[in-house]
């Protein structure tokens, strides 16, 4: 299963998430996204983030996680685009937007992967992580794939860590 590029990235698995992210942001947050080239995170590269939505994958076909990671200022601008409210800090009142956006992306990508690519991904509930100098730790067994997205609010990342079982 999968169409693995020279980079080691499974394009067949990744592309539905890129497509879903563009649709989700444009429709739900009136935000146009330009996706950069996905790459495997070098061990010494850290992406700055203050809020992230995380979905864990654990089922017969794959295990791993999908994370949507934002810097504070980028998240606040996207939230404003989504809801029409301006906030100066990431508060409990607004942080669930990171999970909601990821939930929409995952739902769309899951449908494509299950219906067209033969996966059996199950419904998953996002967790929201908030903090200064946030770092997400991943399994050493699977590559950490960073998908950069640029928009009017700035740069943010979708992080895909997946092991095919």
């Amino acid at each position: 299963m999968g169409n693995t590029l020279k980079s080691g990235i499974d394009a067949e698995f990744i592309n539905p998430f890129i497509k879903a992210a563009k649709v989700a942001f444009l429709t739900q947050a009136s935000t146009d996204l330009v996706s950069g080239t996905p790459y495997i995170k070098p061990p010494d590269e850290e992406i700055r983030m203050e809020v992230a939505g995380v979905i864990s994958l654990s089922n017969p076909s794959v295990s791993g996680s999908i994370s949507l990671c934002f810097k504070r200022e980028v998240f606040l601008k996207i939230y404003e685009n989504m809801v029409g409210e301006k906030h100066s800090e990431i508060s409990p009142e607004i942080e669930d937007a990171a999970g909601e956006l990821l939930n929409i992306i995952f739902g769309q990508a899951k449908t494509i992967l299950n219906d067209q690519k033969g996966y059996s991904l199950e419904r998953a509930i996002p967790t929201i992580v908030v903090g200064e100098r946030l770092r997400l730790k991943y399994s050493r067994h699977a590559p950490v794939i960073l998908i950069p997205f640029e928009c009017s609010a700035g740069l943010f990342h979708l992080v895909v860590v997946v092991e095919h079982t």
């Binding site: 989504m82 669930d96 929409i104 449908t111 509930i125």
Partner: protein, 134 residues
């Protein structure tokens, strides 16, 4: 189209999505909105004599009482047999749509959605409800 004075119950456990749903309802022209963070609270509101809910727009995935659980409870009560009920979800798998249809949903919206999509789906739901009631 609905009478825009219809009281609309918006149900979602995620505050951000509840705000988006409420904003979309206001953009359509509804002015009388009530919201709930889960199906349990929504059921209380439906049963409260302070309210006269004429349309329910509910998320599917919620803790305690899901949108589908709420729908089944609503359809199981004769008072709400013809209450228009629209489910919103991030999922679009056929088995889930079929489950919602069996439970008596009037329409089904896949996220992401715009106010225009919501308007069209609500009109379809109204037509279906009218047909059921005829």
């Amino acid at each position: 189209m609905y009478d825009l004075s219809t009281q609309v119950l918006v149900v979602d456990d995620m505050l951000t999505m509840r705000k988006i749903m409420m904003k979309a309802c206001r953009d359509i022209g509804f002015t009388n909105l009530v919201d709930a963070a889960d199906g349990v609270k929504a059921w209380e509101i439906l049963n409260s004599t302070d309210n006269n809910i004429g349309l329910v727009v509910s998320d599917w995935s919620m803790p305690n009482c899901t949108g589908l659980d709420l729908l089944k409870r609503v359809r199981g009560d004769g008072r709400f047999k013809f209450l228009p009920f629209v489910l919103i979800t991030a999922e679009s798998e056929g088995t889930q749509v079929a489950e919602a249809l069996r439970a008596g949903v009037d329409n089904y919206i896949i996220k992401p959605f715009t106010a225009e999509i919501l308007r069209v789906k609500l009109e379809e739901a109204q037509a279906k409800t009218s047909k059921r009631a005829a």
